[in-house]
């Protein structure tokens, strides 16, 4: 499959994502305003990544693209409806958009991706949608490639090792730009469903070799595919044939959310239990201390009594002695 020809690509992305509507609704030239608002904190954060985006692309090597990328990301940071701030990974997405769109269009397409394709939920602190997508991916792997799933389980190869990189950068740090663009084309068309289809198709083509390989070779491959070993036309073709049920995806999403809630409740319970135990311990300690104090007091009292008795004895003795003396004097 060829994907979209370069000269149409920008426009197609712009329209498919719904960015064209967003830009039409904008009456006040929002992008131009937003990119000018000073935001030193955001700027510092973003600037760290400017030179570290699409590092093999000429525009970034010659440093002609960095200022455009900065403008788009700063405008995004100043955008009122931005719920997720700036996360590494966005720099790659924005940079890819800028290869085919002007800054204003790229900005609105980024906004559309965040709002219409769940990207905002993915980049939010804690990466809530990444967690969900990773869980969905685990279930898909279990369903479509059970042998591989078991092999990964056996090796303790958890999918979060590669899904964060795959999903947060739209594969741009895993594949070449050429392949990434094709994947993006399909993503704009079909969203997450297609992304999962591609992942299944890709791993299916590697299944035989992965079943024989040790942990380190599999992880290295998953994070940095050698594209000469990947038959992409075949993978795209097979991906389309994989039937994914939206119901399943929804079911797994809910399942994950419930599990997470249960976990959180359990953690809270544990925390509460610990707190109660600590309280009990404190009480016990206090009681012990009180007991000890009482005992000491009793002892003191006893000592006091003994003292009193002794004093009385002494007094008596003295009295007796005095009587004896008196007797002596009388005598």
């Amino acid at each position: 499959m060829r994907g979209v020809p370069n000269r149409f690509r920008g426009n197609i992305w712009f329209i498919l994502s719904g960015a064209d509507k967003l830009m039409k609704q904008d009456q006040e030239n929002l992008f131009k305003k937003l990119k000018k608002i000073k935001n030193p904190k955001a700027e510092e954060l973003i600037k760290k990544d400017l030179d570290r985006t699409l590092t093999t692309h000429r525009g970034y090597i010659e440093k002609t693209e960095q200022s455009r990328l900065l403008d788009v990301l700063i405008a995004w940071m100043n955008y009122e409806k931005n719920e997720c701030g700036y996360s590494q990974g966005m720099n790659f997405i924005a940079a890819i958009l800028l290869l085919f769109l002007d800054e204003e269009q790229a900005f609105w397409t980024l906004v559309a991706l965040m709002e219409n394709y769940n990207l905002s939920e993915m980049y939010k602190p804690g990466f809530p949608y990444l967690e969900i997508a990773t869980y969905q991916w685990d279930r898909l792997l279990e369903k479509f490639l059970p042998k591989l799933y078991n092999h990964f389980q056996f090796l303790f190869l958890t999918s979060d090792i590669y899904t964060s990189r795959w999903f947060l950068t739209m594969f741009s740090t895993t594949f070449s730009i050429h392949t990434t663009l094709k994947l993006m084309d399909f993503f704009f068309f079909d969203g997450w469903k297609f992304r999962f289809q591609i992942c299944i198709s890709l791993l299916k083509s590697f299944q035989k070799s992965f079943l024989l390989l040790p942990f380190e070779d599999i992880v290295s491959t998953l994070l940095n595919f050698d594209e000469s070993t990947v038959d992409f036309p075949k993978i795209f073709k097979n991906a389309k044939k994989i039937k994914l049920s939206t119901n399943d995806l929804e079911k797994w999403e809910n399942e994950f959310k419930e599990k997470k809630k249960e976990n959180e409740i359990e953690i809270e319970k544990k925390n509460q239990n610990q707190k109660e135990k600590e309280k009990e311990r404190k009480k016990e300690n206090e009681n012990q201390n009180e007991n000890e104090n009482e005992k000491e007091k009793e002892k003191e009292n006893e000592n006091g009594k003994e003292n009193e008795i002794e004093i009385e004895k002494k007094n008596q003795n003295q009295k007796e002695k005095e009587k004896e003396r008196e007797n002596e004097i009388e005598n």
Binding site: D51, L54, T55, S87, Q88, L168, V219, L223
Partner: protein, 206 residues
Amino acid sequence: MENFKICFMGDQSVGKTSIINRFIYDDFNINSQSTVGVDFLSKTIFVENESVRLHLWDTAGQERFRCLIPSYVRNSSLVVIVFDITNKTSFKSIEFWMDTVQNERGDDVIVFLVGNKTDLEDERQVSLEKLEKEANKNGFLYLETSAKTGHNVKQLFRKIGISILKQNKKRKELIKPELDENTSLMNISLNIDPNKLKQKEESGCC
């Protein structure tokens, strides 16, 4: 050959990826791509006539990614906390990274503290004394490197290899005596006269 897991952590753009790239490829790229999520590389080194296979986990430095890191620290034999000697903030973050390590592992892991970018001596904001102080306070091993010039990078991984071998030997020695005790216990129980056991049972003590 045994594998040893090493986790690199530290603030954004302090040079974690560059140190690893210098070690693996003996190469430096001034603009290496930002690491999103985690990266993985492995290499075998030879120290003290033994070969050691290192699994290097290169984690993302942006604050937002900190929530992903504990799972990589969990099974590490050794943790490398990197900071940038020209960036005070990255030095201050050491405390956070230490907490992460201690929460996951307590004191049961070797920690290396690495100040990177010694090639930018003129812009230095953190003195070597401070690094030494911080490291000694926590009992860490420390080193200053430059991924750009290659300064101390080989030494760093040599030291990592030596520490790991030492720790591994200690572990094995710790496991051995336990085994001996167990076997001797078994002998004792086997030496007991079964007739005496029966007598005891029959006498029916409380």
